[in-house]
Protein backbone atom coordinates (compact mmCIF):
# COMPACT_ATOMS: atom_id res chain seq x y z
CA UNK A 1 0.00 0.00 0.00
CA UNK A 2 1.02 3.67 -0.39
CA UNK A 3 2.08 5.23 2.92
CA UNK A 4 2.43 8.84 4.02
CA UNK A 5 3.38 10.44 7.34
CA UNK A 6 0.32 10.88 9.53
CA UNK A 7 -1.53 7.89 8.08
CA UNK A 8 -3.17 5.83 10.85
CA UNK A 9 -3.50 2.07 10.36
CA UNK A 10 -4.77 -0.90 12.34
CA UNK A 11 -3.64 -4.49 12.57
CA UNK A 12 -6.07 -6.78 10.79
CA UNK A 13 -5.70 -9.45 13.46
CA UNK A 14 -5.73 -7.65 16.82
CA UNK A 15 -5.83 -4.31 18.68
CA UNK A 16 -2.50 -2.92 17.41
CA UNK A 17 -2.73 0.58 15.90
CA UNK A 18 0.11 2.55 14.36
CA UNK A 19 0.70 5.90 12.78
CA UNK A 20 3.20 6.34 9.95
CA UNK A 21 5.92 8.85 10.85
CA UNK A 22 8.31 8.25 7.95
CA UNK A 23 7.55 6.51 4.68
CA UNK A 24 9.43 5.64 1.50
CA UNK A 25 7.72 6.47 -1.79
CA UNK A 26 5.76 3.83 -3.65
CA UNK A 27 4.17 0.59 -2.59
CA UNK A 28 5.13 -0.63 0.89
CA UNK A 29 4.33 -4.14 2.12
CA UNK A 30 3.76 -3.21 5.76
CA UNK A 31 2.24 -6.01 7.81
CA UNK A 32 1.22 -6.73 11.37
CA UNK A 33 0.83 -10.32 12.55
CA UNK A 34 1.87 -11.30 9.05
CA UNK A 35 -1.21 -9.67 7.47
CA UNK A 36 -1.38 -6.34 5.63
CA UNK A 37 -2.48 -3.42 7.83
CA UNK A 38 -5.96 -2.01 7.30
CA UNK A 39 -7.43 1.53 7.49
CA UNK A 40 -7.94 2.93 11.00
CA UNK A 41 -11.15 1.81 12.62
CA UNK A 42 -11.43 -1.45 10.64
CA UNK A 43 -8.83 -3.52 12.48
CA UNK A 44 -8.96 -6.73 14.50
CA UNK A 45 -11.73 -8.23 12.41
CA UNK A 46 -10.09 -10.97 10.41
CA UNK A 47 -7.94 -13.96 11.02
CA UNK A 48 -5.18 -14.82 13.41
CA UNK A 49 -1.63 -13.63 13.70
CA UNK A 50 1.01 -15.65 11.94
CA UNK A 51 2.97 -17.31 14.77
CA UNK A 52 6.19 -15.92 13.34
CA UNK A 53 4.82 -12.37 13.75
CA UNK A 54 3.34 -12.54 17.23
CA UNK A 55 6.17 -11.01 19.24
CA UNK A 56 4.06 -8.07 20.39
CA UNK A 57 4.06 -4.34 19.63
CA UNK A 58 4.52 -1.81 22.44
CA UNK A 59 2.70 1.50 22.77
CA UNK A 60 4.83 4.60 22.16
CA UNK A 61 7.69 2.67 20.56
CA UNK A 62 8.87 3.64 17.11
CA UNK A 63 9.45 0.73 14.73
CA UNK A 64 11.81 0.98 11.77
CA UNK A 65 12.89 -1.13 8.83
CA UNK A 66 16.57 -1.86 8.34
CA UNK A 67 17.12 1.02 5.93
CA UNK A 68 15.47 3.57 8.25
CA UNK A 69 13.23 4.78 5.40
CA UNK A 70 10.11 3.43 7.10
CA UNK A 71 9.13 4.40 10.63
CA UNK A 72 5.83 3.84 12.39
CA UNK A 73 4.74 4.73 15.92
CA UNK A 74 2.61 2.28 17.89
CA UNK A 75 -0.45 4.09 19.31
CA UNK A 76 -2.24 0.97 20.61
CA UNK A 77 -0.40 -2.15 21.76
CA UNK A 78 -1.13 -5.80 21.06
CA UNK A 79 0.32 -9.25 20.58
CA UNK A 80 1.00 -9.14 16.86
CA UNK A 81 4.23 -7.68 15.53
CA UNK A 82 5.17 -5.47 12.60
CA UNK A 83 7.12 -6.49 9.52
CA UNK A 84 8.06 -5.23 6.10
CA UNK A 85 7.18 -8.23 3.98
CA UNK A 86 8.59 -11.04 6.12
CA UNK A 87 11.38 -8.96 7.70
CA UNK A 88 10.45 -7.87 11.24
CA UNK A 89 10.63 -4.16 12.05
CA UNK A 90 12.84 -3.29 15.01
CA UNK A 91 12.43 -0.77 17.84
CA UNK A 92 14.19 2.53 17.14
CA UNK A 93 16.44 3.76 19.92
CA UNK A 94 15.14 6.50 22.21
CA UNK A 95 15.81 10.11 21.30
CA UNK A 96 18.41 11.91 23.39
CA UNK A 97 16.81 15.35 23.28
CA UNK A 98 16.43 17.30 26.51
CA UNK A 99 13.01 18.65 27.43
CA UNK A 100 12.74 22.23 26.24
CA UNK A 101 9.30 23.38 27.36
Amino acid sequence: MELRPGLALDSAVDQVSVIVTKAPAGDVDLRCGGKPLVPKGTGGASGEADAAHAMGTLIGKRYVDETGALEVLCTKPGGSSLSLGDAPLTVASAKALPSSD
Binding site: P5, G6, A8, I19, T21, I59, G60, K61, L73, T75, K76, P77, A94, K95, L97, P98, S99, S100, D101
Partner: protein
Protein backbone atom coordinates in the same frame (compact mmCIF):
# COMPACT_ATOMS: atom_id res chain seq x y z
CA UNK B 1 -2.33 13.26 13.60
CA UNK B 2 -4.71 14.64 16.21
CA UNK B 3 -4.10 15.76 19.80
CA UNK B 4 -6.69 13.24 20.97
CA UNK B 5 -4.36 10.48 19.72
CA UNK B 6 -1.72 11.67 22.22
CA UNK B 7 -4.35 11.86 24.97
CA UNK B 8 -5.46 8.30 24.22
CA UNK B 9 -1.87 7.06 24.22
CA UNK B 10 -1.28 8.62 27.65
CA UNK B 11 -4.51 7.23 29.08
CA UNK B 12 -3.94 3.77 27.55
CA UNK B 13 -0.26 3.56 28.41
CA UNK B 14 -0.05 5.10 31.91
CA UNK B 15 -3.64 5.83 32.89
CA UNK B 16 -2.95 5.46 36.65
CA UNK B 17 -0.09 7.93 36.73
CA UNK B 18 -0.75 11.41 38.11
CA UNK B 19 -0.12 13.84 35.23
CA UNK B 20 -1.59 17.07 36.59
CA UNK B 21 -1.26 18.96 39.85
CA UNK B 22 0.16 17.98 43.22
CA UNK B 23 0.53 14.21 43.63
CA UNK B 24 -2.47 14.23 46.01
CA UNK B 25 -5.13 14.88 44.83
CA UNK B 26 -3.71 14.88 41.33
CA UNK B 27 -5.38 14.07 38.02
CA UNK B 28 -4.27 10.83 36.34
CA UNK B 29 -3.82 10.15 32.63
CA UNK B 30 -7.15 8.35 32.56
CA UNK B 31 -8.70 11.13 34.66
CA UNK B 32 -7.51 13.70 32.13
CA UNK B 33 -9.09 11.75 29.28
CA UNK B 34 -12.38 11.38 31.13
CA UNK B 35 -12.43 15.07 32.05
CA UNK B 36 -11.51 16.08 28.50
CA UNK B 37 -14.39 14.03 27.08
CA UNK B 38 -16.73 15.49 29.71
CA UNK B 39 -15.46 18.94 28.84
CA UNK B 40 -16.15 18.23 25.17
CA UNK B 41 -19.76 17.40 26.10
CA UNK B 42 -20.03 20.74 27.90
CA UNK B 43 -18.59 22.54 24.86
CA UNK B 44 -21.13 20.81 22.60
CA UNK B 45 -24.00 21.55 25.01
CA UNK B 46 -23.21 25.26 24.51
CA UNK B 47 -22.98 24.74 20.77
CA UNK B 48 -19.63 26.50 21.07
CA UNK B 49 -17.27 26.70 18.08
CA UNK B 50 -14.23 27.57 20.22
CA UNK B 51 -13.07 27.52 23.83
CA UNK B 52 -11.53 30.77 25.02
CA UNK B 53 -9.26 30.35 28.05
CA UNK B 54 -9.15 33.66 29.92
CA UNK B 55 -7.59 32.74 33.25
CA UNK B 56 -4.33 31.96 35.00
CA UNK B 57 -2.59 28.66 34.33
CA UNK B 58 -3.69 25.61 36.27
CA UNK B 59 -5.09 22.10 35.88
CA UNK B 60 -8.10 23.60 34.07
CA UNK B 61 -5.87 24.59 31.16
CA UNK B 62 -4.74 21.18 29.82
CA UNK B 63 -8.31 19.94 30.34
CA UNK B 64 -9.58 22.87 28.26
CA UNK B 65 -6.97 22.17 25.57
CA UNK B 66 -7.87 18.48 25.24
CA UNK B 67 -11.61 19.06 25.71
CA UNK B 68 -11.54 21.50 22.80
CA UNK B 69 -9.64 18.89 20.76
CA UNK B 70 -12.17 16.18 21.65
CA UNK B 71 -15.02 18.52 20.67
CA UNK B 72 -13.27 19.41 17.42
CA UNK B 73 -13.03 23.15 18.17
CA UNK B 74 -9.94 25.32 18.72
CA UNK B 75 -8.66 26.46 22.09
CA UNK B 76 -7.99 30.21 22.19
CA UNK B 77 -5.94 31.24 25.23
CA UNK B 78 -6.15 35.00 25.80
CA UNK B 79 -4.24 37.33 28.09
CA UNK B 80 -6.45 37.96 31.11
CA UNK B 81 -4.61 41.24 31.73
CA UNK B 82 -5.49 42.86 28.40
CA UNK B 83 -7.30 46.17 28.47
CA UNK B 84 -11.01 46.29 27.75
CA UNK B 85 -10.72 47.42 24.11
CA UNK B 86 -8.09 44.90 23.11
CA UNK B 87 -9.81 42.01 24.85
CA UNK B 88 -13.21 42.87 23.39
CA UNK B 89 -11.58 43.05 19.94
CA UNK B 90 -10.17 39.54 20.28
CA UNK B 91 -13.34 38.07 21.82
CA UNK B 92 -15.40 39.47 18.93
CA UNK B 93 -13.32 37.32 16.60
CA UNK B 94 -14.71 34.26 18.44
CA UNK B 95 -18.39 35.14 18.94
CA UNK B 96 -19.49 31.51 19.26
CA UNK B 97 -17.00 30.60 21.98
CA UNK B 98 -17.45 29.26 25.48
CA UNK B 99 -15.20 31.36 27.75
CA UNK B 100 -13.40 29.99 30.80
CA UNK B 101 -12.71 32.78 33.31
CA UNK B 102 -11.48 33.38 36.82
CA UNK B 103 -13.99 33.15 39.68
CA UNK B 104 -16.72 35.74 39.33
CA UNK B 105 -16.54 35.87 35.55
CA UNK B 106 -15.19 38.74 33.47
CA UNK B 107 -16.98 42.05 32.82
CA UNK B 108 -16.02 42.19 29.11
CA UNK B 109 -17.29 38.64 28.52
CA UNK B 110 -20.59 39.51 30.22
CA UNK B 111 -20.85 42.73 28.26
CA UNK B 112 -20.57 40.79 25.00
CA UNK B 113 -23.13 38.28 26.23
CA UNK B 114 -20.85 35.29 25.73
CA UNK B 115 -21.45 32.06 27.68
CA UNK B 116 -18.82 31.54 30.36
CA UNK B 117 -17.77 29.32 33.26
CA UNK B 118 -15.13 29.88 35.88
CA UNK B 119 -12.16 27.48 35.88
CA UNK B 120 -13.35 26.24 39.29
CA UNK B 121 -16.78 25.40 37.81
CA UNK B 122 -15.05 23.80 34.83
CA UNK B 123 -12.90 21.60 37.10
CA UNK B 124 -15.89 20.59 39.15
CA UNK B 125 -18.18 19.97 36.16
CA UNK B 126 -15.64 17.95 34.18
CA UNK B 127 -14.95 15.84 37.27
CA UNK B 128 -18.59 14.95 37.87
CA UNK B 129 -20.01 14.11 34.46
CA UNK B 130 -19.86 10.76 32.79
CA UNK B 131 -18.73 11.53 29.27
CA UNK B 132 -20.36 10.47 26.05
CA UNK B 133 -18.23 8.11 23.95
CA UNK B 134 -15.65 9.96 21.84
CA UNK B 135 -16.71 11.03 18.38
CA UNK B 136 -14.20 11.09 15.55
CA UNK B 137 -12.58 14.50 15.82
CA UNK B 138 -12.16 16.78 12.87
CA UNK B 139 -8.57 17.73 12.12
CA UNK B 140 -9.47 20.38 9.56
CA UNK B 141 -10.18 22.70 12.50
CA UNK B 142 -7.11 24.33 14.12
CA UNK B 143 -6.13 22.92 17.52
CA UNK B 144 -5.06 26.23 19.02
CA UNK B 145 -5.23 29.92 18.10
CA UNK B 146 -2.61 32.10 19.80
CA UNK B 147 -2.47 35.85 19.39
CA UNK B 148 1.09 37.03 18.97
CA UNK B 149 1.97 39.71 21.46
CA UNK B 150 2.29 42.37 18.77
CA UNK B 151 5.34 44.27 20.01
CA UNK B 152 5.54 45.95 16.61
CA UNK B 153 2.06 45.62 15.10
CA UNK B 154 -1.56 44.60 15.68
CA UNK B 155 -1.95 41.15 17.26
CA UNK B 156 -2.38 38.38 14.70
CA UNK B 157 -4.09 35.05 15.40
CA UNK B 158 -1.62 32.24 14.71
CA UNK B 159 -3.38 29.00 13.76
CA UNK B 160 -1.70 25.85 15.05
CA UNK B 161 -2.99 22.72 13.37
CA UNK B 162 -3.18 19.33 15.06
CA UNK B 163 -0.58 18.05 12.60
CA UNK B 164 1.82 20.88 13.58
CA UNK B 165 1.59 20.18 17.30
CA UNK B 166 1.66 16.40 16.98
CA UNK B 167 4.68 16.61 14.64
CA UNK B 168 6.46 18.73 17.23
CA UNK B 169 5.74 16.20 19.98
CA UNK B 170 6.65 13.11 17.94
CA UNK B 171 9.81 14.79 16.65
CA UNK B 172 11.12 15.92 20.01
CA UNK B 173 9.72 13.77 22.83
CA UNK B 174 10.08 10.07 23.58
CA UNK B 175 6.79 8.54 24.73
CA UNK B 176 6.56 7.72 28.47
CA UNK B 177 10.22 8.66 28.87
CA UNK B 178 9.72 10.50 32.18
CA UNK B 179 10.16 8.68 35.47
CA UNK B 180 7.08 8.43 37.68
CA UNK B 181 8.74 10.84 40.12
CA UNK B 182 9.40 13.50 37.44
CA UNK B 183 7.50 16.76 37.65
CA UNK B 184 7.60 19.93 35.55
CA UNK B 185 6.91 23.40 36.91
CA UNK B 186 5.23 25.76 34.46
CA UNK B 187 5.39 29.45 35.24
CA UNK B 188 4.65 30.93 31.82
CA UNK B 189 1.10 32.17 31.23
CA UNK B 190 -1.33 29.96 29.27
CA UNK B 191 -1.49 32.28 26.26
CA UNK B 192 2.22 31.67 25.62
CA UNK B 193 3.13 28.94 23.11
CA UNK B 194 5.49 27.37 25.66
CA UNK B 195 2.57 26.71 28.01
CA UNK B 196 0.60 25.01 25.23
CA UNK B 197 3.63 22.99 24.14
CA UNK B 198 4.43 22.01 27.71
CA UNK B 199 0.90 20.73 28.35
CA UNK B 200 1.24 18.36 25.39
CA UNK B 201 4.89 17.28 25.64
CA UNK B 202 4.72 16.67 29.39
CA UNK B 203 1.65 14.49 28.96
CA UNK B 204 3.28 12.49 26.17
CA UNK B 205 6.43 12.01 28.25
CA UNK B 206 4.30 11.03 31.26
CA UNK B 207 5.65 13.92 33.34
CA UNK B 208 3.45 15.44 36.02
CA UNK B 209 2.78 19.16 35.52
CA UNK B 210 2.55 21.65 38.35
CA UNK B 211 1.68 25.27 37.57
CA UNK B 212 2.51 28.53 39.23
CA UNK B 213 -0.47 30.83 38.69
CA UNK B 214 1.65 33.95 38.60
CA UNK B 215 5.40 34.07 38.62
CA UNK B 216 7.13 35.10 41.82
CA UNK B 217 10.78 34.18 42.45
CA UNK B 218 10.42 33.08 46.09
CA UNK B 219 7.26 31.13 45.36
CA UNK B 220 8.96 29.46 42.42
CA UNK B 221 11.81 28.23 44.67
CA UNK B 222 9.38 27.16 47.37
CA UNK B 223 7.22 25.24 44.86
CA UNK B 224 10.22 23.47 43.33
CA UNK B 225 11.13 22.20 46.81
CA UNK B 226 7.61 21.34 47.96
CA UNK B 227 6.55 19.57 44.76
CA UNK B 228 9.95 17.96 44.18
CA UNK B 229 10.13 19.50 40.73
CA UNK B 230 12.65 17.93 38.33
CA UNK B 231 12.09 20.08 35.20
CA UNK B 232 11.23 23.72 34.72
CA UNK B 233 10.98 26.35 32.02
CA UNK B 234 11.66 30.03 32.60
CA UNK B 235 12.09 33.17 30.53
CA UNK B 236 15.28 35.22 31.11
CA UNK B 237 13.71 37.83 33.40
CA UNK B 238 12.38 35.04 35.63
CA UNK B 239 15.77 33.35 35.90
CA UNK B 240 17.49 36.64 36.75
CA UNK B 241 14.93 37.27 39.51
CA UNK B 242 15.24 33.74 40.90
CA UNK B 243 19.02 34.11 41.11
CA UNK B 244 18.61 37.48 42.85
CA UNK B 245 16.03 36.19 45.34
CA UNK B 246 17.00 36.52 48.99
CA UNK B 247 17.86 33.47 51.06
CA UNK B 248 18.53 29.86 50.22
CA UNK B 249 18.50 29.15 46.48
CA UNK B 250 18.97 25.39 46.77
CA UNK B 251 16.64 23.30 44.61
CA UNK B 252 17.86 19.73 45.25
CA UNK B 253 15.39 17.84 43.05
CA UNK B 254 15.68 20.12 40.00
CA UNK B 255 17.59 18.40 37.21
CA UNK B 256 16.75 20.34 34.08
CA UNK B 257 16.05 24.02 33.54
CA UNK B 258 15.02 25.21 30.08
CA UNK B 259 15.05 28.87 29.17
CA UNK B 260 13.97 30.84 26.13
CA UNK B 261 11.56 33.46 24.86
CA UNK B 262 14.12 36.29 24.75
CA UNK B 263 17.91 36.62 24.67
CA UNK B 264 19.53 35.52 27.94
CA UNK B 265 22.55 37.49 29.16
CA UNK B 266 25.54 35.10 29.26
CA UNK B 267 26.30 36.35 32.77
CA UNK B 268 22.96 35.04 34.06
CA UNK B 269 23.67 31.66 32.47
CA UNK B 270 27.08 31.51 34.13
CA UNK B 271 25.60 32.46 37.47
CA UNK B 272 22.94 29.74 37.12
CA UNK B 273 25.64 27.16 36.41
CA UNK B 274 27.64 28.35 39.44
CA UNK B 275 24.61 28.37 41.74
CA UNK B 276 23.30 24.95 40.63
CA UNK B 277 26.24 22.93 39.30
CA UNK B 278 24.10 19.76 39.17
CA UNK B 279 21.60 21.36 36.82
CA UNK B 280 21.20 20.63 33.12
CA UNK B 281 20.57 23.91 31.33
CA UNK B 282 18.70 23.91 28.03
CA UNK B 283 18.30 26.94 25.81
CA UNK B 284 15.39 26.73 23.41
CA UNK B 285 14.48 29.03 20.53
CA UNK B 286 11.17 28.97 18.79
CA UNK B 287 8.18 31.04 17.78
CA UNK B 288 4.46 30.71 18.20
CA UNK B 289 4.34 30.13 14.42
CA UNK B 290 6.71 27.14 14.71
CA UNK B 291 4.78 25.28 17.47
CA UNK B 292 7.42 26.23 20.05
CA UNK B 293 11.02 24.98 20.02
CA UNK B 294 12.96 24.68 16.76
CA UNK B 295 16.54 24.77 18.12
CA UNK B 296 18.05 23.50 21.35
CA UNK B 297 21.36 24.25 23.08
CA UNK B 298 21.83 21.09 25.13
CA UNK B 299 23.27 20.70 28.66
CA UNK B 300 26.46 19.26 27.12
CA UNK B 301 26.74 22.31 24.85
CA UNK B 302 26.50 24.56 27.93
CA UNK B 303 29.17 22.69 29.88
CA UNK B 304 31.53 22.48 26.90
CA UNK B 305 31.20 26.20 26.25
CA UNK B 306 31.79 27.17 29.89
CA UNK B 307 34.82 24.88 30.26
CA UNK B 308 36.46 25.78 26.95
CA UNK B 309 39.66 27.76 26.61
CA UNK B 310 38.74 28.57 23.02
CA UNK B 311 36.99 31.96 22.88
CA UNK B 312 34.89 30.88 19.88
CA UNK B 313 33.68 27.77 21.71
CA UNK B 314 32.82 29.93 24.74
CA UNK B 315 30.64 32.11 22.51
CA UNK B 316 28.32 29.12 22.06
CA UNK B 317 26.86 29.99 25.43
CA UNK B 318 25.21 32.83 23.55
CA UNK B 319 23.86 30.50 20.87
CA UNK B 320 20.36 28.99 20.80
CA UNK B 321 21.77 25.65 19.68
CA UNK B 322 21.03 23.40 16.75
CA UNK B 323 17.85 22.51 14.86
CA UNK B 324 15.60 19.74 16.15
CA UNK B 325 15.33 16.65 13.96
CA UNK B 326 12.67 17.37 11.34
CA UNK B 327 13.43 21.10 11.35
CA UNK B 328 15.55 22.81 8.69
CA UNK B 329 17.07 26.25 9.12
CA UNK B 330 18.46 28.51 6.44
CA UNK B 331 19.86 32.03 6.64
CA UNK B 332 19.01 34.30 3.73
CA UNK B 333 20.19 37.71 2.61
CA UNK B 334 17.89 40.62 1.75
CA UNK B 335 17.46 39.26 -1.80
CA UNK B 336 16.23 35.95 -0.39
CA UNK B 337 19.39 34.04 -1.31
CA UNK B 338 20.82 31.52 1.18
CA UNK B 339 24.11 32.67 2.75
CA UNK B 340 26.96 30.47 4.00
CA UNK B 341 27.85 29.76 7.64
CA UNK B 342 29.08 32.80 9.51
CA UNK B 343 27.05 35.30 7.49
CA UNK B 344 24.20 37.19 9.05
CA UNK B 345 20.75 37.29 7.52
CA UNK B 346 17.12 36.44 8.06
CA UNK B 347 16.38 33.10 9.75
CA UNK B 348 14.11 30.89 7.64
CA UNK B 349 12.64 27.63 8.89
CA UNK B 350 10.87 24.64 7.38
CA UNK B 351 9.30 21.50 8.85
CA UNK B 352 6.01 19.80 9.69
CA UNK B 353 5.71 21.63 13.01
CA UNK B 354 5.88 25.01 11.27
CA UNK B 355 2.38 26.45 10.96
CA UNK B 356 3.20 29.97 9.69
CA UNK B 357 -0.54 30.37 9.30
CA UNK B 358 -2.56 33.39 10.40
CA UNK B 359 -6.31 33.82 10.79
CA UNK B 360 -7.72 35.72 7.85
CA UNK B 361 -4.34 35.82 6.08
CA UNK B 362 -3.30 32.24 5.30
CA UNK B 363 0.06 30.48 5.31
CA UNK B 364 3.08 32.76 4.90
CA UNK B 365 5.58 30.35 3.37
CA UNK B 366 7.38 30.47 0.04
CA UNK B 367 6.95 27.92 -2.75
CA UNK B 368 9.39 25.55 -1.08
CA UNK B 369 7.67 25.75 2.30
CA UNK B 370 10.14 28.11 4.03
CA UNK B 371 8.87 30.51 6.67
CA UNK B 372 10.64 33.83 7.27
CA UNK B 373 10.87 34.24 11.07
CA UNK B 374 11.80 37.93 10.66
CA UNK B 375 14.51 37.24 13.24
CA UNK B 376 18.07 38.02 12.23
CA UNK B 377 20.95 35.70 12.96
CA UNK B 378 23.65 33.42 11.65
CA UNK B 379 24.70 29.77 11.75
CA UNK B 380 28.24 28.77 12.67
CA UNK B 381 30.20 26.04 10.89
CA UNK B 382 28.64 23.33 13.07
CA UNK B 383 25.08 24.50 12.67
CA UNK B 384 24.74 26.42 15.94
CA UNK B 385 22.29 29.27 15.52
CA UNK B 386 22.98 32.74 16.90
CA UNK B 387 20.17 35.26 17.11
CA UNK B 388 21.07 38.83 16.30
CA UNK B 389 18.00 40.85 17.18
CA UNK B 390 14.84 41.38 15.21
CA UNK B 391 15.45 42.98 11.83
CA UNK B 392 12.74 45.47 12.70
CA UNK B 393 14.87 46.67 15.62
CA UNK B 394 17.70 47.85 13.40
CA UNK B 395 18.77 51.39 14.17
CA UNK B 396 19.83 53.52 11.21
CA UNK B 397 22.18 56.29 12.32
CA UNK B 398 23.48 58.49 9.55
CA UNK B 399 22.99 55.70 7.01
CA UNK B 400 24.75 53.11 9.14
CA UNK B 401 22.71 50.03 10.13
CA UNK B 402 23.24 49.18 13.77
CA UNK B 403 21.89 46.06 15.47
CA UNK B 404 20.97 46.93 19.06
CA UNK B 405 21.82 43.39 20.18
CA UNK B 406 25.48 43.97 19.40
CA UNK B 407 25.67 47.00 21.70
CA UNK B 408 23.45 45.45 24.36
CA UNK B 409 25.80 42.47 24.57
CA UNK B 410 28.68 44.82 25.30
CA UNK B 411 26.82 46.88 27.92
CA UNK B 412 25.71 43.72 29.70
CA UNK B 413 29.35 42.87 30.29
CA UNK B 414 29.67 45.89 32.59
CA UNK B 415 29.63 44.45 36.13
CA UNK B 416 26.99 46.89 37.47
CA UNK B 417 24.50 46.48 34.61
CA UNK B 418 21.64 44.00 35.13
CA UNK B 419 19.52 44.72 32.07
CA UNK B 420 19.79 46.98 29.06
CA UNK B 421 17.88 48.23 26.04
CA UNK B 422 19.51 50.10 23.15
CA UNK B 423 17.15 51.98 20.83
CA UNK B 424 17.21 54.67 18.20
CA UNK B 425 15.30 57.88 18.92
CA UNK B 426 14.45 60.36 16.15
CA UNK B 427 17.21 62.89 15.51
CA UNK B 428 17.23 65.79 13.03
CA UNK B 429 20.87 65.46 12.15
CA UNK B 430 21.42 61.70 12.10
CA UNK B 431 17.93 60.37 11.42
CA UNK B 432 18.25 58.30 14.57
CA UNK B 433 20.33 58.79 17.65
CA UNK B 434 21.68 55.86 19.66
CA UNK B 435 20.56 55.78 23.30
CA UNK B 436 20.57 53.16 26.04
CA UNK B 437 18.51 52.51 29.15
CA UNK B 438 20.34 50.43 31.74
CA UNK B 439 19.04 48.81 34.90
CA UNK B 440 21.59 48.72 37.73
CA UNK B 441 22.20 45.41 39.46
CA UNK B 442 20.36 45.11 42.76
CA UNK B 443 22.08 47.17 45.43
CA UNK B 444 24.70 48.65 43.09
CA UNK B 445 25.27 52.32 42.45
CA UNK B 446 25.54 52.87 38.73
CA UNK B 447 27.75 55.54 37.22
CA UNK B 448 26.39 56.02 33.70
CA UNK B 449 29.55 57.85 32.58
CA UNK B 450 31.58 54.83 33.63
CA UNK B 451 29.28 52.59 31.56
CA UNK B 452 29.69 54.94 28.61
CA UNK B 453 33.48 54.92 28.71
CA UNK B 454 33.36 51.14 29.17
CA UNK B 455 31.27 50.91 26.00
CA UNK B 456 33.54 53.33 24.13
CA UNK B 457 36.53 51.16 25.05
CA UNK B 458 35.03 48.24 23.15
CA UNK B 459 32.78 49.78 20.48
CA UNK B 460 33.53 52.33 17.82
CA UNK B 461 32.47 55.90 18.54
CA UNK B 462 29.47 55.72 16.21
CA UNK B 463 28.23 52.64 18.06
CA UNK B 464 28.63 54.06 21.54
CA UNK B 465 25.27 55.28 22.85
CA UNK B 466 25.19 59.06 23.03
CA UNK B 467 23.02 58.98 26.06
CA UNK B 468 22.82 56.34 28.77
CA UNK B 469 20.25 56.60 31.52
CA UNK B 470 19.54 54.40 34.51
CA UNK B 471 16.01 53.05 34.84
CA UNK B 472 14.69 50.88 37.65
CA UNK B 473 13.10 48.48 35.19
CA UNK B 474 12.70 47.94 31.44
CA UNK B 475 9.30 47.62 29.80
CA UNK B 476 9.02 43.93 29.04
CA UNK B 477 6.03 41.69 28.37
CA UNK B 478 5.26 39.10 31.00
CA UNK B 479 7.16 36.61 28.93
CA UNK B 480 10.27 38.74 28.90
CA UNK B 481 10.03 40.26 25.44
CA UNK B 482 11.46 43.77 25.38
CA UNK B 483 8.96 46.43 24.29
CA UNK B 484 11.35 48.63 22.31
CA UNK B 485 8.69 51.11 21.31
CA UNK B 486 7.98 51.73 24.99
CA UNK B 487 11.68 52.36 25.57
CA UNK B 488 11.68 54.89 22.73
CA UNK B 489 8.59 56.52 24.22
CA UNK B 490 10.31 56.68 27.60
CA UNK B 491 13.17 58.60 26.03
CA UNK B 492 10.85 60.87 24.07
CA UNK B 493 8.93 61.67 27.24
CA UNK B 494 12.28 62.71 28.70
CA UNK B 495 11.62 60.87 31.90
CA UNK B 496 12.37 57.40 33.16
CA UNK B 497 9.48 54.96 33.15
CA UNK B 498 7.81 54.33 36.46
CA UNK B 499 9.16 51.26 38.20
Amino acid sequence: MHLTMLLDMAADGFGDRVVLGPTKPGITGEGLRRRSLSGADIVRSHDADAVVYLAVNGAAFPIALFAAACAGVPLVPLNYRLGREQLAGMLRRHPGALVLTEDGGHPVVDELGMPSMSTAEWLSATGLRTPEPAATPDDAVPAVVIYTSGTTSEPKGVLLRHANLVSYVLGSVEYASAAETDAALVSVPPYHIAAVANAITSLYAGRRVVTLEQFDASQWIETVRREQITNALVVPTMLARILDAPGDLSVPTLRSLAYGGAPMPARVVRKALETWPQLDLVNAYGLTETSSTITVLTPEDHRTAVASEDPFARLRLGSVGRALPGVEIEIRDELGQPVPAGFRGRIHVRGDQVSAEYAGIGRLVDDDGWFDTRDEGFLDEEGYLFIGGRTDDTIIRGGENIAPAEIETVLLRHPDVADVAVVGVPDEEWGQRLVAAVVPRAGEELDVEDVRSFARGILRGSKTPEEIVAWSELPRTETGKLLRREVVRGFEAGAPLPA
